[in-house]
Amino acid sequence: MSSEQQPGVIVVDRGHPATRDGRGLVRGIGVVLRHLRDAFGPRLERPEQTSGVFTVQYPEERTPLPEASRNLPILLFDDDSGHELCTSCYQCERICPPQVIHITQARDPASGKAVPAIDEFILEYDACMSCGLCAEVCPFDAIKMDHAFELSTATRDPLTVDRVGLARPVSYYAQLAPQAWAEARDGAMKKLQGSRRRRTGTVGMTPARAAPAPADAPAAPIADAAPAGEPAGGEPVPASDAKAARLAAIRARNAAATDAPAPDAAPAPAGEPVGGEPMPAGDAKAARLAAIRARNAARQREGGDA
């Protein structure tokens, strides 16, 4: 063969002579039957295997996710103290391409000064694009990408997640991504120590300790059942109402900052909520929303004047 080869001529060696007169059909059937036989044998798992069933029967069987797999962001808190790693630096809120992160910074109840902790942290899971930039940019290793992906719901509401819903203990993340956490742990914990020195009372402590733990999070040891750190002056409200109220408050504050009329979320007139007075659920909620909005607007104006 090599003697016949001319420059510029490529002789293709198929490993078998040209298939004619139905021999290709016979060979094809042979291949197919080999696969049929092997499909009842061992599963296709090693790369050098060329046949065998590769189906993963999903809800019962799962392939392990790689450590760097990312789906939606979560907020970490320290297992022992319950302190959140987040310091309200707003880096994630700024970088978020679809702008689904909303943060309010905590203030010292006594002095009213800002402290490196969050008052509220709201993330709209339904609009999050899972880019992971928030976790990438976070200087405190406070926001990380979770592996959980089975988040289908029948309604939108559960996909607006607050500080409680986002909270996961550090041990949970360490188990998800042991290598990444091993690299980040020392720096993150050191920075948390620094933040804790400037926090007072329960500021910066995760309210998730009081709330039921997320189903997919490992059961964290509940050292101190600290009450949920509600915004100053707020009374304890049911979880769903609280969430709606917080979102409304943030929207209202933003609206006030731009001096535009507030979005028509609540029809009730603004007024101070009368503590303890029984009201119909809808009215109570509307009134609370309006109160929060008014207070926040006022605070914004004070801040602007000062």
Partner: protein, 423 residues
Amino acid sequence: MNRTIVISQILVIEQAPGWLVAALNHAIIAGVLLIGGAITMMLQVWVERRLIARMQDRLGPNRVGPEGILQSIADGIKMFTKEDIIPRAADRWVHLLAPIVALAPIAMMLAVLPWGRGLVAVDLEVGVLYIAAVSSISGVGLMMAGWGSRNTFALLGAMRSIAQLIAYEIPLIIALLGIVLLTGGMSLARMPELQAGIPLFGSSIPGAPDLGLGWFIFTPVGLLGGIIFFICALAEGERTPFDIPEADSEIVAGYMTEYSGMKFAVFYIAQYLLNFALAVLSAVVFLGGWQGPGVAWLADAGLGAAASLLSLLWLLLKAWGLFMLMVVIRAAVPRLRVDQLMSFAWKYLLPLALVNVASAALWVGLTEWSSIEWGNLLPVDGLAPWQRIGVAALVTAVINLGATRWVLRINRAPAAAPVVVPA
């Protein structure tokens, strides 16, 4: 008929008018055939999906019912609940009638097929002619679907399917013609009866046991005819590699493009029923039908019902075997181009089928004609029937083999020039 008497006894309607008994009789048999057809179609879909999946290193549907066997029922429920869409530009009535016109003739084919020893709904003297005539009606349904949909893809698919059906109907019928010559009649019910005995020699050797293996596929004429018939059956049933009319990667779904819900399901049922009917027909004509070891023995022992049951099992076994061969071919072979399809029908199958008819005629002459009929040219009278069959087999084998080689050689494409890469 026997059956009529049995049914009238069961229903205690001896005093009922004869026409009522006959009508009931036919209604019951038609019901059994059609329900059996529907169940067969569901099983076919499941078997095909599971088998193909394994061949492609998958598992296939295995969730609904044990091993997914009820998947077709789930699919059927889905089809029932889907919206029935008729395009605004479509010809409403043609669009509506097309699936019915496509399915009805195929259901009618089931009537004349012999399902077992003594199990045939209608014993037509011209069964082969009936099958050929009725099966070509469904092409009208396909054209109605393509034309009535007012969709370019649908029209293209319909025209492709008509071209394919016409091209492959001819070798299909000529392949059947060879067997008609051999059996000397067009009755499908009689064909299995003529395929008793031992391979090739049938019942011609006195004293040989009746194994029920005297199938035509063991004769040279039947072998070539059977292969041609099966290939044509693939094309008629639009199975891969002849699924050009509904080539989903080229023309969406061909004539079925504008169909949804139950109308689509009717096309689907028609297709699988046609595949099964053609598999049964191949089995009846070439693979001995319900003949098989044990049937004659049971019948001789006086166990007529057991013999019928065994013969039904043999037929279903053969038909399902052929259907699985269709599935394997579907998994192994890619779709042909339209020009390859046409040249295969007209340049390979048609000449071979014609040669096969000549071989069949020669076979009949060598085995059945007397020396006088041969004009005293051949001294065939002195030979025993099995000797004459041996001579005929030898002669027809030489003719068919030579013809096959010749057809393959003259159609061989010139060797491709080596790939020259410009310097």
